[in-house]
């Protein structure tokens, strides 16, 4: 039971003394690590350590994500003394014994991964490393299922500080001064949101954590919940104290079973140790946290929809005002914040607003986690100070474009965002610069596209997503987006007429201007930004009936040219068997039956198939 600051400190002391292991082996067991095969690697590690009698000197820690998804399964050998270590990537079960053989030094021939980040709380010197980890400070370093691990890493210190030495108003002031902005997409100042709710008359209030992470291709909230759930709980308790709420609710999407499991464990641990419940730290402050599950609806990430969903209704947004901070869940003042926003809070409280402002930009202090995916080499999570250049993220941290292809564009902000071309690679990104360029920070999804991507098709893809996910309540989003999508579909299939671009643009603006909620107000962004950056590609589709990237199947034809030597490879691979020809004779494609899958095009070793 941790019922005072003294017991907390004693507990941490004891824990520090207890950890005797000379070596720690960290295995990243996030969703993505497990999917990549971390479980058998872990089992092999355990088996071998037991076999060799090393269980007491080597401690295995099952951590959450380290963010280097491309390198999963990953194993880190850490020397707790020097806090330095070696990380192996793409570890195979067969390689585990070698790793154990060489605990202290690098196994020759195995792939290792460099750490590109530093921890601003630990190291004053960034050492020219691009990443700064505040949100992910514990992810990949601690066992998320052990409260002890969190406590050893400054866990619940911020809460202790708040409950024993700060008034609610001081907490709100600290957060306000830090300039922390909501990481859920809008970038609304968190301190201001808290102050609205705090200013409401005392009574029932709620703190809600938005863990609905619906942007496809973004997974930072999942990483935090899987890797460091206590940090979110700690922040929610602090928030509850600041606004005068006694209940917190985490609204989490059902598609994240592992995050749910770890959150449940964390909540139980916090309750058992008196960090949740009555009279926390002897301060007289009570707080409880409940879990509520989503059920597959992106729009429930929108805060009013989220509240309706918690209330058991259809997740339809409602018009604001009233804002949730005034009238939210069950009509009570409610603060809704994103997972990543919360994960910042304990650090801000511990180190103070001024420290936080030393990282990032003037208007957007702190860091931002991006989920880097698409055509980059190093898919994964990166946490960079606000104001980092896109080029650094994509080419340094991301390792550039895969397969030596050409960078074409990067989509930030997911389906509500926009794309940026190569000429914007040097933009230092924060909330305001991205918005100024017609894109959005969004939740931090960053999808990189290369020369093989058709931007019209990409715009259509995003619109398809918003169409699927629109709640259907308001006219512009329900019907307007459908019409936009139909126009894009006509463009991609060569049925569009000359005035389509104009119609598209006008309707896109009208949908933005008149939609009820953020989903509809931003859903045309991918269309508008691809139009702004790649209008010639649209025109090629409309005027020439050609897809320059060779993606839109209705607009491409595969033809066998005279290079064909009749090797029959293509014919054997064609899934619909529509290629015919004698051995050593030129082959032909039956155009009527061809489904334009492109398999033959990739299979032919003689450049004998043209895609036109």
């Amino acid at each position: 039971m941790i019922d005072s600051v003294e017991t907390l400190n004693k507990r941490v002391e004891a824990l520090r003394r207890e950890s005797l292991a000379a070596t720690r082996i960290l295995v990243s067991m996030g969703t993505c690590g497990i999917a990549a095969g971390a479980a058998p690697v872990l089992a092999e590690l355990r088996r071998l350590l037991a076999e060799r009698g090393l269980e007491n000197t080597v401690e295995i820690v099952e951590t959450g994500c380290i963010g280097q998804c491309y390198a999963e399964p990953s194993v880190e050998i850490l020397n707790p003394e020097s806090n330095s270590g070696i990380t192996y990537g793409k570890v195979k079960v067969s390689e585990v014994s070698m790793i154990i053989d060489h605990l202290a030094d690098v196994v020759p021939g195995l792939e290792t991964v460099n750490k590109t980040w530093y921890y601003p709380e630990d190291e004053a010197n960034a050492d020219n490393r691009l990443q700064a980890r505040i949100v992910l400070r514990n992810s990949g370093r601690i066992d998320p299922e052990k409260l002890e691990d969190y406590l050893k890493n400054r866990g619940y210190q911020a809460l202790a500080k708040v409950l024993t030495g700060m008034s609610p108003a001081e907490v709100v002031k600290e957060i306000t001064e830090s300039g922390l902005r909501g990481r859920g997409g809008g970038g609304f100042p968190t301190g201001m949101k808290w102050s609205f709710a705090a200013a409401q008359p005392a009574g029932r209030k709620y703190i809600v954590c938005n863990a609905d992470e619906g942007d496809p291709g973004a997974f930072m909230d999942r990483a935090v919940l899987e890797g460091d759930p206590h940090s979110v709980l700690e922040a929610m308790i602090i928030g509850g104290y600041a606004i005068g709420a006694d209940t917190g609710i985490v609204y989490i999407r059902a598609e994240y079973p592992l995050a749910v499991k770890r959150l449940k464990i964390a909540i139980r641990q916090a309750e058992e140790n008196g960090l949740l419940g009555k009279n926390i730290f002897g301060s007289g402050f009570n707080f409880k946290i409940e879990l509520k599950y989503g059920a597959g609806a992106f729009v429930c990430g929108e805060e009013t929809a989220l509240i309706h969903s918690i209330e058991g209704k259809r997740g339809e947004p409602t018009f604001k005002p009233p804002f949730p901070a005034v009238s939210g869940l069950w009509g009570c003042p409610t603060v809704v914040n994103n997972v990543e926003t919360y994960a910042n809070v304990p650090a801000v409280i511990r180190r103070g607003a001024a420290w936080f402002r030393t990282i990032g930009t003037e208007k957007s202090p702190g860091t931002k986690v991006f989920a880097l995916a698409g055509k980059v080499e190093n898919v994964g999570l990166v946490e960079v100070p606000m104001g980092t250049a896109l080029r650094d993220i994509i080419f340094n941290l991301g390792g550039g474009i895969r397969d030596g292809k050409q960078f074409k564009a990067v989509q930030t902000g997911g389906p509500s965002g926009g794309c940026l071309k190569a000429d914007r690679l040097d933009t230092r990104i924060d909330y305001d610069t991205l918005t100024a360029l017609g894109s959005m920070m969004g939740s931090g999804g960053m999808i990189v596209m290369d020369e093989d991507d058709c931007m019209v098709n990409i715009a259509k893809f995003f619109l398809e997503f918003t169409l699927d996910e629109s709640c259907g309540k308001c006219t512009p989003c329900r019907i307007g987006n459908t019409r936009l999508h139909e126009m894009l579909d006509r463009i991609c299939t060569g049925r569009a007429t000359g005035d389509t671009i104009n119609k598209l643009r006008n309707l896109a603006y009208a949908v933005k201007d008149t939609s009820l909620c953020g989903l509809g107000q931003t859903s045309p962004n991918p269309v508008l930004s691809t139009l702004a950056n790649f209008e010639e590609e649209y025109e090629a589709h409309i005027r020439d009936k050609k897809c320059p990237a060779g993606v839109c199947t209705k607009l491409i034809t595969y033809l066998i040219n005279d290079n064909c030597v009749g090797c029959t490879l293509c014919a054997r691979n064609c899934p619909v068997s529509c290629i015919s020809g004698e051995r050593k004779q030129k082959h032909v494609i039956d155009q009527d039956r061809c489904i334009k899958c492109g398999v033959c095009y990739q299979a032919c070793k003689f450049h004998a198939i043209d895609r036109i």
């Binding site: 996910e469 629109s470 329900r478 459908t482 201007d513 008149t514």
Partner: protein, 583 residues
Amino acid sequence: MINLTINNMPVKVRKDSTILAAARKIGIKIPTLCHFELDCFSFEHRIGSCRICVVEVEGRRNLAPACCTPVAEGMVVKTNTLRAINARRTILDLILSDHPKDCLTCEKNGDCELQHLAGEMDLHHVLYEGKMSEYQLDLSCDAIVRDLDKCIMCRRCQSACNDVQTVGVLSGIGRGFRAVVGPADLMPLNESTCVFCGQCVIACPVGALTEQNCRYKVWRALNSGKHIIVQTAPAVRVAIGEAFGMRPGTVATGQLVAGLKLLGFDKVFDTDFAADLTIMEETTEFIERLTKNENLPILTSCCPGWVKFLEHQFPELLYMPSTAKSPQQMFGAIAKSYYAEKMGLKPEDVIVVSVMPCLSKKYEASREEFSPNGIRDVDIVISTRELANMFQEAGIQLNKLEPREYDHPLGESTGAAVIFGVTGGVIEAALRTAADWLSEKELKDVNFTAVRGSAGLKEATVKVAGIDVKVAVCSGLGNARRVLEKIRNGEARYHAIEIMACPGGCLNGGGQPYIHGDSSVLEKRAAAIYKADVDLPIRKSHENPYIKKLYAEFLGEPGSHLAHRLLHTSYKARGHLCEVKND
């Protein structure tokens, strides 16, 4: 008070006003579709979903929906900038792009808010074309037709059904382009717990919800050579004039009769006659239950919507309503027995048509207990709107007709009967008779004003012959639910309760001319009803000479064996109609 400017004109409005209300104050009508308001019941459906009302507000990034944007001090609103106009046209364009544009053959033709808007908004062609919603037409019930292809997702019906009526049949279904409003799984309405009150129909701005059209049946009957008679409900006479340009609140009884005669009915009778009869039977039952002090409170049973609601939702209270049939059904029963006999006709050769403010009456007439020997007591039910439409088709200009009198013997009625059309009227009529009967003298002041007014729940304790009779009057099923829950939980005690499914009573029934949210019309209709009451020479049911004659010649006493057979009914628990049956 808040000061703002709209189109450079200063306005001062109450703090909780919207831009829409502020604009209205200076004579600017901003188009609306999803917004629906009935101030007399303090009901507002403010969903902000259609977006046809967007205006420009200085300093805001997006256009603001006038219907749900609260005013703020110093706000600068422009309703007619090019940006706002174009946005509204685009919204209309989008709505029309997913709407069958068959106005000329639409039930709602001429009375459709979308059609009016399209007329006002200067849209000459639909720019954005594409796929359209397609749903199966629901013709399953006798009262309502649902054509969801025309639904514009304003959700006004949903609000009426769930929030006002608490019947809870309608919900948003699906999402995105496939979103629509309907019963669970889009089941046919007759499989649901719908009570056919038609409140959703009068809320619907377009032709997605309309009544089952029975006009052609009437035309056919009129030309069948059979003896065809018609009854008109109390609330019809105070509303039908609206369809002919008469001022709301005009009592058009005489013209109504004249018009019906011109249409070719053999006899034009009055449901009010049967309402007097209902009072005779119901009051008899009431006095019996009151004096024995058992099975109280007695609940009125003349509203079929309310009766069906009770059967579904409160099956344990089925002993409470009076067993007396509704006036419509009493009329039919008498017409096919006493009247047919008198006329020397076989019951099957008499066709009874009702003109009702109500859609539930269409369903009521089809209930099997009202078809003794397979012959329906009431053959065809049309709504006030349908009758107006028939007059129009026949070229009968109601406003130009000389008033005529109802025929005898089923056309004579009292003031007590006419007030059946307004909430509180049935109980007042019953009290007039009960007071006389209990005290065995003649009541002078027949106005029980305590039970009047449009409030959804009215309570009064009335001294009747020295007894404190506690009565309650509910209109709107949401109010009924609240009262019934209290009674079930033993939190409230009454002797008698009048319940009407429609807020305000039948004058706001689902078959009345559309008022499109102008609730002053309802107040005028109510005033007209009370005026009609005062204008009648006899104001107590039991003093109706033809009623006396009916009992003397045919029925005997109120509550007699024959009266029971013809004029009383029973109720059955219904639960969920959608229960799955094993084959």
